[in-house]
């Protein structure tokens, strides 16, 4: 584990009778390696290491009796700070509109249904809106999921997403609309424009970026692009029931500044949990 490797660095150097800034450098190289292997974006890693080094020197780690332990503690704390902080509830409205966005296959449709079930259990009256008009059987997929959880799904044949959401809002009787959109590349101008149009027209209370936890270095480019076009309000990390370290969480959080609102860890519709920064930090550090 990383903490064992860091301890080993200082133990070896202590046995050589000297703990210097060089030993801190070596410990930081272990941290860098661990974060890169965990898929944290390179730029984010570099900034993080700089912060760790400042803190370590600032806390006179090199004078301490247990420099290894100190460094591990700083890394852990800094990571938890970065992944942040308070549990933010979903925004409300009358009705609240939640827009689900992200790359192809990240888990938007499944997560939309999970979110609907979560809200229903809390006593809300959600409506799922099928605004993916491109993917084969996307509407059917959402309808099947909606039926499983007893949440209505609004869908229209042969209409564009703008019109679908407009008519969904005219339905009334629901305090929250969860709009499932088609997966798209952040470099697809037309499709990003479509999302921008939805945002400008309906001013959603939440725009949630659904991110696959196994995403690698590309997490920064794509989340930055979605954030710049839409102004995200939050992130949902999916497929956390896999064994990926999940460094994308750190990258996306750092680069967008958005809170990670939920973690999805399973294919069943009750597999949605609040985000626990300490658990994710431990996992990323390996």
């Amino acid at each position: 584990s990383l903490s064992e490797k860091i301890q080993a660095v200082f133990k070896k150097l202590r046995n050589q009778g000297k703990i210097t800034e060089e030993s801190l450098q070596e410990a930081l190289r272990e941290v860098r390696r661990a974060l890169l292997e965990a898929d944290v974006n390179l730029g984010v890693v570099k900034e993080f290491i700089t912060r760790i080094k400042e803190k370590a020197l600032g806390q006179d780690v090199l004078e301490s009796l247990t420099p290894g332990q100190q460094v591990v503690k700083i890394v852990h704390e800094e990571l938890i700070n970065l992944l942040g902080g308070t549990r933010e509830p979903l925004a409300t409205g009358s009705p609240a509109v939640i827009l689900m966005v992200g790359l192809q296959g990240s888990g938007k449709t499944t997560t939309s249904a999970k979110l609907a079930l979560h809200l229903k259990k809390q006593g809300h009256s959600p409506l799922l809106v099928a605004a993916d008009i491109y993917r084969p059987a996307a509407i059917k997929q959402l309808q099947v999921l909606g039926k499983q959880i007893g949440v209505p799904v609004f869908a229209l044949e042969d209409e564009k997403p703008l019109e679908i959401v407009r008519q969904a809002l005219e339905q009334g009787g629901h305090d929250t609309l969860i709009v499932d959109t088609a997966g798209r590349l952040h470099i697809d101008e037309a499709l990003m424009g479509e999302l921008h149009g939805l945002k400008e027209t309906f001013k959603p209370q939440e725009i949630l970026l659904v991110v696959d936890a196994m995403t690698g270095q590309d997490a920064v480019k794509m989340s930055e692009a979605f954030n710049q076009t839409l102004g995200l309000s939050g992130v949902i990390l999916t497929k956390m029931d896999g064994d990926t370290r999940g460094g994308a969480a750190m990258s996306v959080r750092k680069v967008t500044g958005c809170p990670i609102k939920f973690v999805a860890a399973g294919e069943k519709l009750d597999a949605l949990e609040p985000f626990h920064p300490d658990r994710i930090a431990t996992r990323i550090l390996g």
Partner: protein, 276 residues
């Protein structure tokens, strides 16, 4: 390379960063940079020599391009496997279309009997490719679909059976043993068939892609990888580790969401795109 007057640690570090940012991973990146460092010294390389040297070394991991090559006049079984959402169903549609165009008589087995509307999604792709789809009802036994599809294929004189399987995380033992069972049925019912078992891997995936390949290889003996979503900005660099550590070649790449968006894997172009 531009702006460097000699091959020094600064240049090597810049190159290493390009590799890391392409998901090549720490281990392979270090190996490549070590090679460049040694070669630069031994052969007195200048910065202008570096791109070609690095390109050749990277291509060395990937070997010659190995396309998906079916055997004419034989029964072929092409099974796609992989974790959730990587593009398996879409890739089956693309492959069915390609094989049809190449003069084969394909048949599709809808062996994802679990996920909502998975069968309907595949049926639409089958219609687009003009290839029939064998299906049971949602919630049925996927192994039974595969068994029936092999029988149907043999009865109809189909010469390639494409099997779409449900997405599954490799750390789920029960799901992996379901896949193993499907593989056994194929081996048992079509023992003389040419088998292609393709891991469909999303190019946006980081180092976990290596773990995926390891476990799927162990369970279903992979013959290749289809790297999808390369039309995005992700580089798919994890395939170098997959080649080096597991010897599994990338055979095709997905470049979009339409029927024709599948190409043979070209190692030279792939390496070039890392620095593009």
């Amino acid at each position: 390379v531009l702006g460097h007057t000699r091959v020094d640690e600064d240049l090597l570090q810049d190159l290493e960063e390009i590799l890391l940012e392409s998901d090549v991973g720490v281990s392979v990146s270090e190996e490549v940079i070590d090679h460049l460092r040694k070669k630069a010294k031994a052969a007195q390389l200048s910065p202008e020599d570096i791109p070609e040297e690095m390109g050749n070394y990277l291509e060395g991991y990937l070997g010659e391009g190995t396309p998906i090559r079916l055997e004419r006049g034989k029964f072929n079984v092409v099974m796609v496997v992989g974790v959730n959402g990587t593009g398996k169903t879409t890739t089956v549609g693309k492959l069915a279309n390609r094989f049809q165009a190449e003069g084969f008589k394909p048949l599709i087995a809808a062996a994802d009997t679990f996920r909502a509307a998975a069968i309907e999604q595949l049926e639409i792709w089958g219609k687009r490719a003009d290839v029939p789809v064998i299906r049971h009802k949602e919630g049925g036994d996927s192994a039974a679909v595969v068994f029936d599809s092999i029988k149907a294929g043999q009865a109809r004189g189909a010469d390639v059976l494409l099997i779409d399987t449900a997405g599954r995380l490799h750390n789920k033992a029960n799901l992996m043993s379901e896949l193993e069972k499907i593989r056994r049925i194929v081996d048992r019912e079509a023992p003389d068939a040419y088998h292609e078992v393709l891991l469909v891997l999303d190019a946006t995936t980081g180092q976990n892609g290596l773990k995926q390949a390891e476990v799927f290889k162990e369970i279903v003996k992979l013959t290749g990888v289809v790297l999808t979503k390369l039309d995005g900005t992700a580089k798919g660099g994890v395939i170098f580790s997959i080649a080096r550590d597991l010897g599994i070649p990338v055979k095709a790449i997905g470049l979009g969401e339409k029927l024709e968006d599948l190409k043979d894997f070209n190692p030279k172009l792939f390496v070039k795109a890392l620095f593009g």
